[in-house]
Symmetry: C2
Subunit: 413 residues, 2 copies
């Protein structure tokens, strides 16, 4: 049994790195965008704990961390436990951190109990999981798993034009481990659900079946700057109007039910010159589409493209679309689902199978090794990417206890 | 007859202050937002020319410039010619500058010809006419005319929280002339039309009948930050969606014809946290309404309010509206319209009466003295608030020749 108090203390201590006062909620939130100084400070705290726990810390070329507890048979491929420490700009303390610190708590517990394993166990901390800064989510694990190349990843830039490569170099995070990495024997990630299902149905554990498809586009609108007072309607090419029409249409698409369980969000919305009495010449929006079915997400993307052409025709605004992320649905290995389900059952925790609405590094690892995930419920309808994100100490301990026993069974005593 | 070449040279020289390379058009535009260093540099250039022309330069408490050419009867109220030198962020070289430098060219011509006038003639340069930086247009002239108080004006802030008062103090622009000012005997302003009418109908001069009503609101949307991948539609409160619905509805209102000749523009559109996979908690948009009829603009404002309540109901997003500017239609004095019309006719310039789509300082001065405006056509459908804004040397000279003869007739030889 893991030490739930120690796990909770670690979560609280890490939550102080990058803490900020959130105006919307009045709560203290977390802001550790990937590869910022805050993110690196968060890593340093966690890596210190890992070293204290006796782990050998290595980095790969994307700054992904691997911290190793040796096994009785060092030549066997390791079991990897992990998640990420970067956060969105308005985060809580759980998303990502629970998986990393949960893995650490597993190691600490094995150390306390003097339990050795046959296979090595490694903790992974993945770089830029959120995708908030450089526009592509699960970036570090995608390079580790071989879906994205290292040069492509290094070339991505943030809104200020700073590249992933520059930031990795600046922080000295380019390590010796080659990417793509050698496939581990198995990968396990514990995470807060970030949705309402487990909480509302009263389950303690979610046995994750996979990750729904994700498709991100960045749309840029090229209209014409014009005087708001003098320009007749028929001479306008308002980039803002065109972007708003697309935003409203995406919502109509969701509500129409024509694309299955589609989720669609316009997260960024920027206009230029962005002044009160000027019809905007330029606009930029990001579109985040999700769907459990690859076919349905592609149909939604096509409908978005069709509607953009219609809007372009109607408003005289040209629209460019760039796909910045696209991961088809990931399906986890049946034996890993069975293991998580059986372990939770043996520990007396009621559970259900559940597909993940959010992207996870586990979705990338599923491409190269048997992968499983353990979800724990969040309060407040499972709200996440918001300082109100909250999971109880008991729920966190539940998830990490499942993680411990699954890891032990995979690594062998 | 004025010197059209000298006028044009002055416009070109001033256009170099605050010049920037515009990405949308590939042209060199002008960016002299009110009370920035660029704006003050533009003033300094023009004030130097005024002093060279023998004018006595004074400032009022809002930084509005009055540069005086004495009359034979100094105790008589002056005739004021003027406009503004501040610009929007994506401006051309004419909006405002033609009125100020046109007035200067009138003075230079009188000097060259050794013509004295009975009344003094003063040049005015008004502070923050565009409203782009501090959110309220015609700010300096509105304070001079008594519609807005000096403390209210000084308290307005820009997006960075810097106030009008701070900027006036920083640049040393708080002068000794009290506001509201003593009413002049008459006010005349020459301006580029900023619209397509004169150009498309082939008129050389527009006899301006007044300025249509302007109503600006700043709307803030308070929703809830949420995860784009996990949050079911029914749990979302998307500030971006709500702001987009309002933006689209404003366009529907214009196209419906239900509000007469309504113009509606959403110039600013900002969201927070503005990240790809977060449903935005907060949004801010500005709404710019215009209408020749006060009743119709009020009806449009009411419909906007009603629709915001509907959107609020539908999306769970609360919406706050603040009116940042509201000027009812200004009607110019019939004798001034007659004077401009007659003068243009005598100079052989075909002309028509026209209401202004844009706000002008003349609209404020109309409240305290007989006021007139002279429009000259712009090319390219009269596009303005865009580096493509353009009026020919001949058209500019036409307008300023009308200004010269009207001023002479009002000031008396
Ligand atoms: N777990 C999580 O929030 N991942 C971020 C990637 C995404 O789903 O947008
Ligand atoms: N002339 C002019 O562009 N004025 C700016 C105020 C406005 O009409 O928005």
């Amino acid at each position: 049994k893991i030490d739930g108090g120690r796990l909770w203390d670690s979560l609280e201590a890490l939550g102080k790195i990058g803490a900020y006062l959130d105006e919307e909620t009045g709560l203290v939130g977390v802001r550790r965008l990937a590869l910022t100084d805050q993110d690196v400070a968060g890593r340093e705290l966690a890596l210190g704990w890992m070293r204290e726990a006796g782990l050998a810390v290595r980095l790969d070329r994307m700054g992904n961390v691997r911290a190793r507890r040796e096994g009785a048979q060092p030549d066997l491929a390791p079991i990897v436990l992990g998640s990420h420490l970067d956060s969105v700009a308005t985060a809580g303390r759980f998303d990502g951190c629970l998986g990393v610190l949960g893995g650490l708590e597993v190691i600490r517990t094995l150390n306390d109990e003097g339990i050795g394993t046959r296979r090595p166990i490694e903790l992974a901390v993945w770089t830029e999981e959120e995708g908030c800064r450089f526009g592509t989510d699960m970036l570090g694990s995608a390079v580790a798993a071989g879906r994205i190349t290292e040069p492509d990843a290094r070339a991505l830039t943030d809104a200020a034009g700073i590249s992933v490569g520059e930031e990795l170099d600046r922080h000295g995070l380019v390590g010796p481990v080659a990417v793509p990495v050698d496939p581990p024997a198995g990968y396990l990630e514990c995470h807060i659900e970030q949705g309402p299902i487990l909480g509302s149905e009263g389950y303690r554990i979610g046995v994750v079946t996979g990750v729904q498809a994700i498709l991100w586009q960045r749309l840029t609108f090229h209209g014409r700057a014009a005087h708001a007072g003098t320009t007749p309607d028929e001479l306008r090419r308002s980039a803002t109007l065109a972007a708003s029409l697309v935003t409203v249409h995406l919502d109509d698409m969701v509500k129409s039910g024509r694309f299955g369980e589609l989720r669609a969000s316009v997260g960024r919305f920027e206009t230029s010159p962005n002044l009160v009495n000027i019809v905007a010449a330029e606009a930029l929006i990001t579109v985040d589409l999700r769907n459990p079915e690859e076919e349905a997400i592609l149909a939604a993307r096509d409908e978005l493209g069709r509607y953009c052409r219609e809007v372009s025709e109607r408003t005289g605004v040209t629209i460019e679309a760039v796909t910045t992320a696209h991961t088809p649905p990931a399906n986890f290995a049946p034996e890993m689902m069975d293991l998580v389900e059986q372990t939770a059952g043996e520990l007396g925790m009621n559970n259900r199978r559940i597909m993940s609405g959010a992207g996870h590094d586990a979705g990338e690892m599923a491409a190269i090794c048997p992968t499983g995930m353990v979800f724990v419920p969040g309060l407040y309808d499972g709200i996440s990417h918001n300082p109100r994100e909250y999971s109880t100490p008991e729920a966190c301990a539940d998830g990490v206890n499942v993680l411990l026993h699954c890891a032990l069974s995979l690594a062998g005593r």
